[in-house]
């Protein structure tokens, strides 16, 4: 049984697309086949983050219009076997697709891939409804900020009303040192409010921006970074493995703050 998972957040700019690309690569690294669907019609950038922009020939719109076969529109990732992308059209807007059409595409892809990840646009309008129409599960991405959490809460409510009940939470861009100083909501605060199971905590890291600009998912980088490890862990947890959460404070702070922490200050 393949799994159709939508990556959504409500608020924009919290890292849905970054999460989708990295998670897609991480799942492919576990020797699973995965198809990523960019549901952000008119504002596509999943192809950019994956570094596949120049290889896009057809888009989902062409498939729906019958101008090409589904298999022709899929862009294969050369670096990872089993990872493909179905790009969105850039020259259209979100109204050009209907929920039933998205459902048709996702169900067709589900026959050939273990995972279907759908990158949802921000907002709760038609684009959102398109993206969730086929989904059986959802990954909610939020940052530890009041506005992002509030929107995540709204989106969870909408997903539940649509009958998507398997919802997991990814808290993105956590700054452990800020949580430590009580300047940022902690993961616990977010969890307490949203009341859905946590599947991953991704620390804030400049390497994410560098990797994004290079069009290379962090997970594929040679060097080990904390966020990359976090994404790999999420992929393993999706597979049902029990993986302990990262200790985000391990490499943080100077000698003084580490000592203070040691003495419980």
């Amino acid at each position: 049984m393949s799994r159709i998972i939508v990556v959504t957040s409500g608020k924009g700019g919290v890292g849905k697309t970054t999460t989708t690309s990295n998670l897609g690569a991480a799942i492919a690294k576990q020797n699973r086949s995965v198809a990523l669907i960019d549901a952000d019609f008119g504002l596509r950038n999943l192809d950019l983050l994956l570094g596949l922009e120049e290889r896009v020939v057809y888009t989902a719109i062409d498939v729906l219009a019958g101008e090409c076969r589904l298999a022709q529109a899929l862009v294969k990732d050369k670096r990872l076997k089993g990872l493909v992308l179905l790009p969105a059209a850039q020259n259209r807007n979100k109204e050009s697709v209907q929920p039933e059409q998205m459902k048709k595409i996702a169900t067709a892809l589900a026959k050939g891939y273990d995972y279907i990840l759908i990158d949802c646009p921000a907002g709760i309008e038609l684009g959102f409804r398109n993206a969730i129409s086929a989904a059986k599960e959802a990954l909610i991405v939020t940052t530890p900020e009041v506005a992002a959490v509030r929107d995540a809460d709204r989106v969870i409510g909408l997903l539940e009303a649509e009958g998507v009940n398997k919802i997991n939470l990814i808290v993105n861009r956590v700054k452990p040192w800020m949580v430590e100083e009580n300047k940022m909501m902690s993961v616990e605060d977010v969890l307490e409010l949203l009341g859905v199971p946590l599947i991953g905590v991704v620390p804030d890291d400049e390497k994410v921006i560098v990797a994004t600009n290079k069009g290379e998912p962090l997970v594929l980088g040679e060097y080990d970074s904390l966020p990359a490890q976090a994404y790999l862990n999420i992929a393993r947890r999706l597979e049902g493995e029990k993986v302990p959460f990262l200790d985000l404070m391990a490499n943080q702070g100077n000698l003084l703050t580490r000592l203070r922490r040691m003495f419980g200050g």
């Binding site: 509030r150 929107d151 809460d153 709204r154 409510g157 909408l158 009303a161 009958g163």
Partner: protein
């Protein structure tokens, strides 16, 4: 009576007239009626202005989600559409949504000819009633007499941001009321969880109504026409608390102490501390 929404730049911080709220109570509701269930849509006049169909549908889905388990599989449903205009596609959507929770739409009761025609064409039995005749005694009662409250509404879920629960009776929430969520009741509001959003009890003007929660962390509380904001600094008390109207506005007390100390005084329309009176 229809409610005309007005947009003005009033600088005063008053709550808008509470009368429109009475009409805005009208939400979709589901009730048992013998061996079938009635799904009652609010009448055109009860919902202010034109509520888009997608909102109505969203509301229906939410209602069915929170009410699940209270019926037997395959129970027949009679859709009481009142004076709402429904086309064949909307009827089909309702039928499919009901089907998802193992309910089957059988009858459509309406007083609009077009709706009746659409329902008949789609193969549902139709009860067409003249517009003047009240369809459901309960719903007209609630609209006409303020004192008669509807049965309590019991919700077994967290009320999340963006969700507004309106009910012409008491609301019981077995879960949290999250920030951005709203509960508006003509009666009391009981939250068996954290109250972090907005709760409005006695929205039809009954100052005797109370709001209680296991943990009071509200954004705003309203009782009848009074509004209270959360104090800036609040000790994190873990005991259940109760909000009620006093002569000086809305106050909080520990639930365990409330009944011992306070008594409702009709002339002042507020709860009065018995100990201070003596």
């Amino acid at each position: 009576m229809t409610f005309e929404p007005t947009i003005s730049l009033d600088k005063n911080d008053e709550l808008p007239d509470s009368s429109p709220l009475v009409h805005r109570y009208a939400q979709i509701y589901l009730k048992h009626d013998g061996d079938q269930m009635l799904l009652v849509l609010p009448s055109q006049a009860e919902i202010n202005a034109d509520l888009p169909w997608s909102e109505t549908w969203q509301e229906l889905k939410h209602l069915l989600q929170t009410k699940e388990q209270s019926w037997q599989v395959g129970t027949n449903v009679c859709l009481v559409a009142q004076d709402r205009l429904l086309d064949a596609r909307q009827l089909q959507t309702i039928a499919e949504t009901l089907d998802d929770v193992k309910l089957s739409l059988l009858t459509v009761s309406t007083n609009r000819r077009q709706t009746a025609v659409a329902a008949a064409t789609s193969g549902y039995s139709v009860e067409q009633k003249p517009a003047t005749q009240p369809l459901i005694e309960a719903s007209t009662e609630a609209a006409e007499t303020v004192s008669a409250l509807a049965d309590p509404l019991y919700l077994q879920s967290t009320v999340r941001s963006g969700v507004e629960i309106r009910h012409p009776g008491t609301i019981i929430i077995f879960g949290d009321l999250n920030p951005g969520g709203k509960a508006i009741a003509a009666g009391d509001i009981l939250v068996w969880g954290r109250l972090r959003g907005i709760a409005h009890a006695g929205a039809q003007g009954n100052a005797q109504c109370r709001i209680t929660a296991l943990q009071m962390e509200f954004t705003q509380l309203r009782i009848a026409d009074a509004v209270a904001r959360a104090p800036k600094l609040r000790p994190r008390r873990l005991s259940p608390e109760l909000a009620f109207m006093t002569t000086e506005g809305i106050r909080l007390a520990k639930t365990s102490e409330f009944t011992k100390r306070y008594i409702f005084s009709s002339p002042s329309q507020a709860w009065i501390d018995q100990n201070q009176e003596k």
